[in-house]
Every structure is written in structure tokens, then in C-alpha cells.
Symmetry: C2
């Protein structure tokens, strides 16, 4: 049995949904289908989820939402009409869209969450209707029905692993395909709460694990995960197969194909993942598998880089003599609800690296002011942009000299490193670099390893 | 004006003290002399400080201390007799040794501190007597007289910077040489409290700063600080000159010539330091100077390695998603009064490096048990020995490719690295390595940089 998840671009319009239908019909093992909300049909199009968030804002502000509601309905209608779906089927969806603004919500956060979740919630209903209409019996499965429970962070919920027991009870002996909306679950109070954006990958992984699927197919719009960003290197090598840990490290540092957190249920259940292209379903794609399944390993599987980091540099003499010194800094961070990524230290220096997408300017200002006042460092610098390159490969485990092949080409290019962090993770090396040199550095490393 | 500090081996017996006398007499600028307690005269000899600690133990245990007291007195007598010092001068010192056991102390810690401090306290008195007897007028200066104040950590005291004002009042217009005992100061309550072992270097640096000396001469038993441990490399390059920060990084990672903390007063006062050899006083030795004084810099100044480190490795999925995760670990460390050195992290892994000389087995056991119970990591490993190599040089600031020259020879030797930490400090690169390969690695790096 396979769980097949389709991303927003694979479900953006009727033509795309036809391809999804063909893929599902072609293989009876594709029993459970997890769907995203309809995505962009062209470059400057708006995703249905974003339309719904605008609708939520209008509802809160009590402004006229007639136009946005029409736009949302039109997106679902366009798909239904493509397949000549009877009008009453679509009327049912329209009614739910209208009803959204009339319900009571525990908080604005839950309101936003419920509106956003309806992108998937309605799309899964529509897909079930279309499949059935096309002659492939399909049934919409509400996450409530299978007890897909999450904690009460309305818009960045965490899955409750106890739900696996109830998910496992889902009857798979039916002849119907089961269409499950991605991206959200229900809190103990029965409210809809969503994962972070892109969280349909997580739902797919949870379903695959809960149902002990043989394979978790993740359909997107690329034919493989590439060893490096195709915007930096023209026609880079495709990754045929990699381990869970490799995928995690790469997605952490910028590979956006597969959601960071979605890998965890797969790891825990030992579920193999296959990243595939809806528009090229015969291509083998990329397999993400347990480490035991990987035979031959190349030294490096992929090179990722990200510009979402910032850093704080701090210098104070005899810094490391003090028990509890870092503790005091971390208490300041916690006070402002700031999490950090890495903390390389010298004997009198400390660099703290942050994910700047998680920080507001106010948080940064308060943190810096408190550190200056309470820690009294000799030097305190804020680096608003800090380039991170991550070189990842199972083949680097105990591999001697991996670092030489990585830093030697940078020396040749005259690129200096701000930070090198190797050691905590056995399968990756992390480099800190001036952000405007990051692309050049990635090129130099890629060519030395993959094409030399 | 120069402050000249002499270590224990330079004052171990009369013959050595004669050399010290010749050095001081040869230069009228050598006004202030800071002395250690008499050290070892031969390989298996016992330092006077250790004899005094044994005397302290006997006193606490109320056992017969006659023999140890005789041994201590004999050490001072041997020096006095070498110069035919009158008997009444030594009787005064004998009396103070006897009196030590009769005084009241606030705690056992203060008792130990006072006994230990007397190694220097009595030796400074003896040196002043001997110099005067030899025709060079000299006066013993009790740290109490100049207000050398420390906090109340009896045996690892921290200097109170307010003392600089009182030290500055010491009259230097006298024709006498001023002999100051190293290693200890007085608490607010008037109790003797010592710095950590080897702390006479600190007293010398404090005096040099307090008196705005032109030079702080630190006399020891080597003619220079070498670029690498002479036990690993035969006849290594001598360091003619280095910066304060280079010295700090090197002493942190194993260079034992100069006390780690003694550099701080020198930095703050901009005092130049000259490490010299009592047995070869004409050799230029090694100068430790402000960075502005260094003209030409070699890429690497020195390579240190140390086996005093241990490490804890911890793995848990989604570790870095949690605000306050490291905070909880550091709270456990603080609960057991444990300080850590470095904390390199991957996305799901954390390595914490400790100075194991500061840890008891009980602390380690409690820490590991608490981390296992409260943090519930997927993997928790304790590495009782973790080799650290530090490559230090001002020339590495912004120097491109420094890392290549360091890691390439390791690759050639088939030595793999457990950790690479570059970045927090601009002038050093830290490597983590299997401890039994550390010497081999140091050799390979040294030869590539210094002799290639």
C-alpha cells in the first residue's frame, strides 16, 4: 500500500488534477491520497491558502469580503467545471466557504488556522467528488474521523503521536480511494489547527506511518532532488537515493522540496519516501530511505546554502571561566522567546547563529540591549546576514580528508571562511561565509566534488 | 622600571638564588621582584608548597607534623646557609612555620590557603634578607601593605581591581629592591587567599600593571616559548614575539609556560611581557606584546595540544526546534556546578566539551543521569578523553586557506577529525581528534607549516 501526497502546483487546476487522477488510477496500491490546497497556476497567481488568509483578515476587520469569497469559489468551480461536476456538488463547497465567516472561534489564531485549513479541507472533498465522478470510487476522510490530533498551537501545531493508534484503524479493505486533506489536525477541543506552511508533507508522512505504508510517494513539480540549487548550477546532478538524515540536513540549510519535520514520522516508521514529479510520473525521482538500504555512497550527496541566518558575536576576556555564563545569555534569549541555531565558541568569544525568519526587529533590539546591560561584553556585534553552506553526505562518516576537498577550492577562489563547524553531525560540514560570496563558494565546491 | 618574577625552579636552592641575585643586580631597572616558593631541585624532589600542604593536612588531622616541619625548615635553611645568612634571620622564619599550626582559621579552606601562601610569604622574606646580606639593599613587601585585595574564594581567589590604586602608591624612589611574594592576596577580612596553582605569574602581572612597569620579566627555566611542545617535535622553532591573544589561546590548549589568567592585567595595562631563562639570562626569550607592536606575522605562531578535555555527545530529533533546549541542559550543568568549554551543534546533535580536570566522577555521573532523565535524548555518549589541537596565529586573521594547510597534511597521514571549530576566534582553529592520534597530527601540521 502506498500513501501518495500531491502538492499545490499538482492540484492548481483541472488539467493538473487530471494528471493526478491518471497517476492514482494507474496503480491500485495508491490507496490513500493526501492533498494540498490548489496552488499557483502561473507565476504571479495567488495560492488558495493565501486567498483564504485574506478572507480571514477581512472577516476580522469586518470589511466587505464579497470579492475575495467569489475568487475563492471560482478556483474550486474552475476545477469542478473542468470535469463537468454537477452544480450541487460545488454548491456544497460554496456553502462551507460562506459558513466560515459565521462560525465562532476561540481566538483570532484559531480563526486564521480554520480559514487556512479549508484550502485543503475543501480540496480533498472536491478531489473525492471528481474521482468518483470519473469512475474511480473515492471517499473524503476528515482528519477528525481518524483522530488526527494536534497540540494547541493553532498555526504551528505539533502532532500527537497517540493518533497513530486511531489512524491505524482506518479500513483499507474498501474498494474506495481515501482522500485526506493535508496541513491540519484537530485539537483536544475539536478546533482545526494547522502545521507550519507546507505542512501537507507532514500529514502524508503521518498517514504513511500510521498505516504502515510500503512507500510514501510525495508528488511535486520537479523530477528529482538535485545535489545543488539549480539556480546556482546549470543542470546539476540528480540525487537518486539518500538517507533520512541527509534529507534533514539538506532541508535545514535550504533544500525546500520536502518539509523538514515531515521526515520524522518516516524515520520512526522506517517508511521509504519517493519524491516524484506529477508532470513526469515515469521518472524514478529521488528515494529517501533508511541508512541500511544505501549500498554505495558518494562522498557528498548534496550542497545546500541558505541566507536565512543572522549572527551575534560577543567577546569578553575570561568568558569561559564563569560557570553559568552561557546560561545567562540563554536566559535572556528565553525571556524574549528566541531560539538559536548554533553557538560556536572560542576561549573569549562566542558566536550565536539565529534563524532570522523567526525573529522580529523588536526581539533583536531587546535581546541586544539586555545582553549589553547584563553581560557587559567587551565587544558585541550583530551580523544581520550570515551565509551558511552545508555539505552533506553519509559518505563523509569517518571519511578522511573530506574537509580538504571542500576548503581547497575556496582557497583557490580567494574566498575566506567566517566559520567552520564539523563534528557534532557526522554526515555534514557547515561553513559560515559572507552572504554575497555564498553562491560563488557553492559553485567552487560543487565543481571540485561533482565534476572534477 | 621592570617587574621581574621568578618561578619555583629559579629559587629552588642557593645556587639558583645566586643567579637570580646576579640578574637583579645587573640592572637597576629591576626594581620589583616577585618570587614563588622554592620549587624542585631535581626530578623527584618535592616543592615547598606541596610540603606545606602536607603540613596543613597533618595539622587538620592532628597527627605528628614534626618531620614535615623539619623538612620545610631545612629547605629555607639550605638556601640561607648557602649565603652564610646569620642564624637569627632563619630563626625568624622557623618561628613563623611553627606558628602556622597554632593560628585560628575561618575554615579548612582558609587554613590550606594560608599554609600554601607561606611558601611565597616566607621565601620573599628570605630573598630580601639574602639580597641585603649580599650588599644589595632589599625590602620585603607584604601584599597587605600594598592592599593586594582578593575575593573570598580561599584557594582560587580572584583579584580585586580596586587594589591597583593602592599598589600604585608603593614608593619606588627608594634605593631598595622590593621583594613581593607571589600567589596570594588578602580578603576583606584580612585572611590570606591564594590564586590557582602557578598564580605567582598573576601577582607579577598585577604588580606590573599597578606600577605601570615598562616591562614584566617572567623568569623561568626555558629560553623561549616554542612553537610546539618540544616533547613532540625535536628542537622546535622558538617564538620570538607574539600577541597577548596568541598567548592566551596557546596556554588554554596546553602551553603551560605562562599562567592563563596572568595575561589579563598585562592586556589591560598594555604591559609588555618578556619570558626569560634564569639559567640563560642573555638569551632574548619570548616577548608577549600588544597587537600594534607586531609587524610581520607568520601564518601560524604556535600549535598546542591538550588531553585535559572530555566530551558529551547527545542526539535527539528536532533538537533545535525547541526554545530553551540548551538552556535546560545548562541548568543541569549549573545544578552540579559544572562549567563547559565548547558546544558545537548539528541540527539534531550537540557535543559539549569539558575540561575534565575540573570534574569529579560524581559530577559526571549526576550530570549524565539528569540529562538522560530530563532531556531523554535518543543517544547519549560520554567520551572520557577528547583530544584538542589549537593552531594559533594573528596571521590567520582573514587569511584565506589557512584551514587547507592544516587539514591537508592530516588527510595525507590518514588522520580523521572529530571536530573542527573555526570562527568564533579569528586567530585560531580548534580541532577535535582521537587522543591517541593527537601527537601524530601535531607533527604533521607542524612540519607542513614550519618546515615545508
Amino acid at each position: 500500500m502506498k500513501v501518495s501526497k500531491f502538492g499545490g502546483s499538482s492540484l492548481a487546476d483541472g488539467r493538473q488534477l487530471q494528471r493526478v487522477f491518471d497517476i492514482i488510477q494507474a496503480d491500485n496500491a495508491r490507496k490513500v491520497v493526501v492533498v494540498s490546497a490548489p496552488g499557483k497556476r502561473f507565476k504571479d497567481d495567488t495560492k488558495v491558502t493565501d486567498l483564504l488568509l485574506a478572507y480571514a483578515e477581512g472577516t476580522i476587520a469586518d470589511t466587505d469580503t464579497t470579492e475575495i469569497v467569489q475568487t475563492i469559489k471560482a478556483r474550486y468551480h474552475a476545477i469542478g467545471d473542468y470535469f463537468d461536476l454537477p452544480a450541487y456538488e460545488l454548491a456544497d463547497i460554496d456553502e462551507q466557504i460562506d459558513h466560515l465567516a459565521k462560525k465562532h472561534y476561540r481566538s483570532f489564531d484559531y480563526l486564521y488556522a480554520a480559514f487556512a485549513a479549508h484550502g485543503e479541507f475543501l480540496n480533498a472533498q472536491l478531489v473525492a467528488k471528481v474521482f468518483t465522478h470519473l469512475g474511480l470510487p473515492a471517499r473524503f476522510v476528515d482528519p477528525k474521523e481518524i483522530g488526527l490530533r494536534v497540540d494547541d498551537h493553532a498555526r504551528s501545531a505539533t502532532f500527537n503521536p497517540k493518533s497513530y493508534d486511531t489512524i491505524a484503524k482506518l479500513d483499507l479493505t474498501t474498494s474506495e480511494r481515501l482522500i485526506v486533506p493535508g496541513f491540519f489536525g484537530y485539537t483536544e477541543n475539536g478546533d482545526m489547527a494547522t502545521f507550519s506552511r507546507g505542512g501537507s508533507d507532514i500529514t502524508g508522512a503521518i498517514m504513511a506511518r500510521g498505516l504502515s505504508a510500503d512507500l510514501y510517494e510525495n508528488f511535486t513539480d520537479v523530477s528529482a532532488i538535485y545535489a545543488v540549487n539549480p539556480n546556482i548550477i546549470d543542470q546539476p546532478a540528480a540525487i537518486k537515493q539518500m538517507t533520512y538524515d541527509e534529507m534533514r540536513e539538506l532541508s535545514y540549510a535550504g533544500f525546500a522540496v520536502f518539509h523538514d519535520e515531515a521526515i520524522i514520522p518516516a524515520i520512526q516508521g522506517g517508511i521509504r519516501i519517493n519524491i516524484k514529479n506529477t508532470n513526469d510520473p515515469d521518472a524514478p525521482g529521488t528515494f529517501i530511505v533508511p541508512p541500511t538500504e544505501v549500498q554505495q555512497t558518494a562522498p557528498v550527496t548534496g550542497i545546500a546554502n541558505s541566507n536565512r541566518f543572522a549572527a551575534l558575536y560577543l567577546h569578553r576576556y575570561l568568558l569561559n571561566k564563569e560557570v553559568g555564563f552561557t546560561l545567562r545569555i540563554l536566559e535572556i534569549l528565553k525571556r524574549h522567546n528566541i531560539s538559536y541555531e548554533h553557538m560556536p565558541s572560542g576561549i573569549d568569544d562566542l558566536t550565536i547563529i539565529f534563524d532570522k525568519t523567526l525573529l522580529s526587529q523588536a526581539q533583536i533590539d531587546h535581546m541586544l540591549a539586555d545582553i549589553a546591560a547584563e553581560i557587559k561584553p567587551d565587544t558585541l556585534k550583530w551580523l544581520p546576514s550570515y551565509g551558511i553552506i552545508m555539505i552533506v553526505g553519509e559518505g563523509m562518516r569517518n571519511r578522511i580528508g573530506a574537509l580538504t576537498e571542500i576548503v581547497a577550492p575556496l582557497k583557490d577562489q580567494g574566498i575566506s571562511l567566517q566559520m567552520v563547524n564539523q563534528g557534532a553531525s557526522e554526515i555534514s560540514i557547515m561553513l559560515g561565509i559572507q552572504p554575497d560570496l555564498a553562491d560563488q563558494a557553492v559553485k567552487a565546491i560543487y565543481h571540485n566534488i561533482f565534476t572534477a
